[in-house]
């Protein structure tokens, strides 16, 4: 009985913190429509700032609290709204998600730059010296009392704001109908700014309350918020009272699991994973939130030609061969990861790009694939790759079942929960046996080594051979994706993205299609992970964490999630550009962690952003064999010169990079029409040659009756 009371007290205190954080999340989500994945990261920053003021600089507690909660928190919220979130209301759900995920990545990076990780930063609880208050047989600390009181105050305060203040009523009105709110005179930016300021403040408050109980670590704190997400989902991201109930369920579950779970080596992880497991269950159990009945016009997904795909694949292999024969061994080890990570990103193309299903657990599939080859392919047997594909496909099919009921942000959360459950629990399990039938070994609570592939006596142990293997595998995976896009199955996926209801009406088998695309995508990610494991040589659970997978997702979307080029872009940015910049500019290495985050945040500013422009710019190169042929020939020429020792590494690298760029410029010039062309397109007239009377007459004739209407107007 004492024990029960003791753990109830602990549970309620934990619940209070979750409730504070989750209510901030609900507030911003409902009023602005942006589900802020970085909400926890904002709380993390709040906790760090408080630590800095209160414990590092020794400010008095009230002053530090006032500065963090009264100034920094709201200011940061307003900044977020002004700089990042404004305008996202019109963006697609995927873009919104990518922006907030990128913000999460960026904020973790920022915190690690300011507060170097690995240093102990102790934080005392409030009134740590005060004696706990006796509560019958149990006791409660003053910090716990304060925490619970804060949660109650937040609940009452939010109610007062939302129902008592005109601004609060305006927030709720905006949730109901944004354009009607504007018609009655509500300024939506004002409302959004207030919501972000308040939401960020609540996140910071939660961060300050929870940080003393756990370590002050950027990633841990940011992800702890996944627990708060679970509470918010209890309220279906809308109802604050239900959110508080959810927080209570989560806090108590956590406390009772701590108190009553049998002590063995399998279950401690279960407690850590319990919030995400609950999240998963709640997502499934709650009636699926009705989707807003809005017709979406989804951007067209390009349909590559077979010849184009084969050319692309050949070029990828060629570049792999060139890299393998010119780079140093350490460089090869660094840059070869472009391809396996590219394959993991490629697995998002059918799933997210074609079928519109968001998954944040592709890297977890990759982890499962890597573990599979580590165990089954210790002799380099290529059959292990098939096993990796088969096992991850089966797991992926399993994930497809909840996906049947979930979409958008809810599916993203469910897959994130799956990833975290693997991170915190499954991947940390020791060897266990399933119903005594067969043994399952995962990471064995440590690192695993992965043997290189050996096909028909040819080993891929050397870095050079492996580079070619990886490039070849990426090329193959790209061909598979193109084949999917060009098939009937691919058309079904695109149709499903446009309207599941319409597909069901037409008699399409949604279950089968979803299971198939999840299985396919998971298998690709699994093989990518297996290859990544081979490339690395050894793997640890941390390699495949949720946080590590987020940049891949964000960059694949930035690069164009419906495209193979987008996947290559993700691989190239993470394992090509970043190491290259680090090598070129050693002084700023620490800041490079911000780049993926910034790229994703930039997407929000300009959804069809720079990458699209770059891709369109390169289009003539791929389109016209007249340009492509000489370009490839030139690159091969430089390569021969390099192999012959005529060129050294740097000039060679520059030439190889400059050649396609030059070719693109040349191609664009070649496509430019001639000035004396009779049927010169209208937009060039007056630019390439002087505007003449005959042009005017021709224009009049072309416009016909419509042209007359411009002057006269309808009678």
């Amino acid at each position: 009985m004492d024990k029960l009371l003791t753990f109830t007290v602990v549970g309620v205190a934990t619940a209070a913190i979750y409730a504070v954080i989750a209510s901030g999340l609900v507030l911003t989500y409902t009023t602005t429509g942006v589900f802020n994945f970085a909400h926890g990261a904002a709380g993390m920053l709040g906790a760090f700032c408080y630590w800095q003021l209160r414990f590092d600089w020794g400010w008095p507690t009230p002053v530090a609290l006032l500065v963090v909660l009264g100034i920094l928190g709201p200011a940061f919220g307003v900044l977020l709204e002004r700089v990042i979130m404004r305008g996202l209301a019109e963006a697609s759900e995927t873009v919104r998600l990518v922006v907030s995920i990128s913000l999460l990545i960026g904020l973790i990076g920022l915190a690690q730059i300011i507060w170097a990780p690995g240093i102990s930063r102790p934080m005392r609880t409030f009134f740590q010296a005060a004696a706990p208050v006796r509560l019958g047989p149990a006791s409660i600390t003053v910090h716990q009392i304060i925490t619970i009181a804060v949660a109650v105050a937040v609940a009452l305060g939010l109610r007062a704001v939302l129902y008592g203040l005109r601004l609060g009523v305006a927030m709720r009105a905006t949730v109901d109908d944004r354009s009607l709110a504007r018609l009655v005179g509500v300024r939506p930016e004002r409302v959004a700014m207030a919501a972000w300021a308040l939401g960020t403040c609540l996140a910071a408050l939660g961060g300050i309350l929870i940080a003393p109980g756990i370590s002050l670590d950027a990633a841990t704190l940011s992800l702890l918020i996944v627990n708060a997400y679970a509470a918010a989902i209890f309220g279906r991201l809308r109802s604050l009272p239900m959110t508080f109930v959810g927080a209570l369920v989560l806090g108590l579950t956590d406390a009772y699991l701590t108190g009553y779970l049998p002590q063995n080596q399998y279950l401690p992880g279960l407690r850590l994973a319990s919030p995400v497991i609950l999240l998963f269950l709640v997502l499934l159990a709650l009636p699926n939130p009705r989707l807003r009945g809005r017709l979406r016009i989804t951007p067209e997904v390009p349909r590559p030609t077979a010849a184009g795909a084969v050319t692309f694949a050949a070029l990828v292999v060629l570049s792999g061969v060139i890299a393998a024969t010119t780079m140093t061994e350490p460089d090869l080890l660094t840059y070869a990861r472009v391809f396996p990570v590219g394959i993991i990103a490629l697995s998002l193309v059918p799933l997210t790009g074609y079928a519109g299903q968001i998954s944040l657990c592709q890297l977890s599939f990759a982890g499962i694939g890597a573990v599979t080859v580590a165990h089954l392919g210790s002799d380099g047997n290529p059959a292990a790759l098939l096993w990796a594909a088969a096992i991850t496909a089966a797991v992926g099919a399993l994930i497809a079942l909840p996906a049947l009921r979930l979409s958008g942000i809810y599916l993203a959360l469910a897959t994130a929960a799956f990833a975290v459950a693997l991170d915190r629990w499954i991947f940390t399990l020791p060897r266990f046996s399933v119903f005594g039938l067969f043994d399952v070994a995962l990471f064995g609570q440590g690192t695993l080594s992965v043997a290189p592939l050996e096909v028909a006596g040819v080993g891929f142990g050397g870095a050079r051979a492996r580079m070619v293997l990886m490039a070849g595998a990426f090329a193959l995976a790209a061909l598979v994706v193109v084949a999917v896009r060009r098939s009937r199955f691919g058309r079904q996926l695109l149709a499903m993205k446009d309207s599941e209801a319409a597909c069901a009406t037409l008699g399409m088998n949604l279950l089968g299609t979803k299971v198939a695309v999840f299985a396919l995508s998971a298998a690709m990610a699994g093989v990518g992970g297996a290859l990544l494991g081979m490339e690395r040589g050894s793997i640890a659970p941390g390699t495949f964490e949720l946080v590590a997978g987020l940049p891949i997702f964000a960059l694949a979307v930035v690069g164009g999630v419906g495209t193979i080029g987008g996947a290559l872009f993700a691989g190239l940015s993470l394992h090509g550009l970043l190491p290259l910049l680090a090598a070129l500019l050693p002084g700023v290495t620490g800041y490079l962690v911000l780049l993926p985050g910034l790229a994703g945040i930039g997407l929000g500013r300009n959804p069809a952003g720079a990458v699209t422009d770059i891709r369109d710019g390169f289009a003539p190169l791929v389109r016209s064999p007249r340009v492509l042929g000489p370009t490839v020939a030139l690159v091969v020429g430089w390569w021969v010169l390099r192999l012959a020792g005529v060129l050294t590494n740097w000039p060679f690298a520059l030439l190889v990079l400059a050649t396609p760029v030059g070719a693109v410029v040349a191609a664009q010039l070649a496509e430019r029409p001639r000035a004396h062309d009779e049927a010169l397109a209208w937009e060039w007239r007056g630019l390439l040659r002087r505007w003449s009377e005959s042009d005017l007459e021709e224009l009049d004739r072309a416009l016909g009756p419509l042209g007359a209407g411009v002057g006269g107007g309808p009678a």
């Binding site: 005109r166 009523v169 305006a170 709720r172 009105a173 949730v175 109901d176 109908d177 354009s179 009607l180 709110a181 504007r182 018609l183 009655v184 005179g185 509500v186 300024r187 939506p188 016009i297 209407g709 107007g713 309808p714």
Partner: protein
């Protein structure tokens, strides 16, 4: 920004284009508008002089709602000019137009389902009127809403919802009122009641633009009418002479 009250004396009614007097409350000149690549309005000219009721009629999909959205600032025209009380309002936000005295009651039920009746009245104070005034006017005109002040708008009947939406047009005392298909989905008796109110406030001199698909409901209150077909004003003139035009214009829908 506020509009000049612009209340023309009743004597000035029905005199569009009269040389003297205040500028028209709403003036669209060759307005074109599009949703993305889909063009919907092809050069619309429309004037609502101070103190008049103008009816804008036309079949489903003609672009009437779009015209109102352009006038209220929710949608930017791709070409042409919108003037409110004589001023060009290019780029002015809808919330600022609303605060300045332009009131659009959108089509369907223009209410917030999760706000109570009283909270709706509270939201009307953005126009600068006091809550007490707004409550007085609303409950006087619609006593039924007074009994339901604590009820969520989403749980009101269709007619009551439309009354609540209409209340904004009355209680905030706008200079220009735009009504989009008040009659949609309502019983004829309620429609009659609502248009009775429109006629009453029109007598007080408010400039009103009413949009309807079916003419009969509004021609009685309008001073001036225009027929819109395929994003263009096909005909404009006094309502009396319009009955023939109406049967000539393809009104698409089924007759009431």
């Amino acid at each position: 920004m506020t509009f000049a009250p612009g209340r023309a004396p009743v004597a000035g009614r029905g005199a569009p284009g009269a040389p003297a007097g205040p500028p028209p409350l709403l003036e669209l000149r060759r307005v074109r508008a599009a949703y993305g690549a889909i063009q919907v309005l092809f050069g619309v000219d429309l004037t609502v002089p101070a103190g008049t009721v103008v009816a804008l009629l036309g079949p489903n999909g003609a672009g009437k709602t779009t015209t109102l959205r352009v006038a209220a600032g929710l949608l930017s025209p791709t070409a042409g000019e919108v003037r409110v009380a004589g001023r060009a309002v290019q780029g002015v936000h809808p919330e600022d137009l609303a605060r300045a005295g332009l009131c659009l009651i959108p089509e369907g039920r223009g209410v917030f389902p999760n706000l109570t009746v009283r909270e709706h009245l509270r939201m009307m104070t953005y126009t600068g009127r006091s809550l007490a005034d707004i409550e007085a006017v609303t409950y006087e005109r619609f006593p039924r809403l007074a009994d339901r002040r604590r009820q969520l708008a989403g749980t009101l009947s269709g007619g009551e919802q439309q009354m609540l939406a209409m209340a904004r047009g009355l209680a905030t005392d706008p200079a220009l009122l735009l009504l989009d298909e008040l009659s949609m989905g309502l019983a004829p008796i309620i429609v009659e009641e609502l248009y009775g109110i429109v006629a009453a406030i029109a007598r007080d001199g408010m400039a009103i633009l009413v949009v309807e698909q079916f003419a009969r409901t509004v021609l009685g209150v309008a001073d001036h009418a225009a027929i819109m077909v395929h994003g263009r004003i096909a005909h404009a003139g006094p309502p009396a002479g319009l009955a023939d035009e109406l049967s000539a214009a393809d009104l698409g829908g089924t007759s009431p």
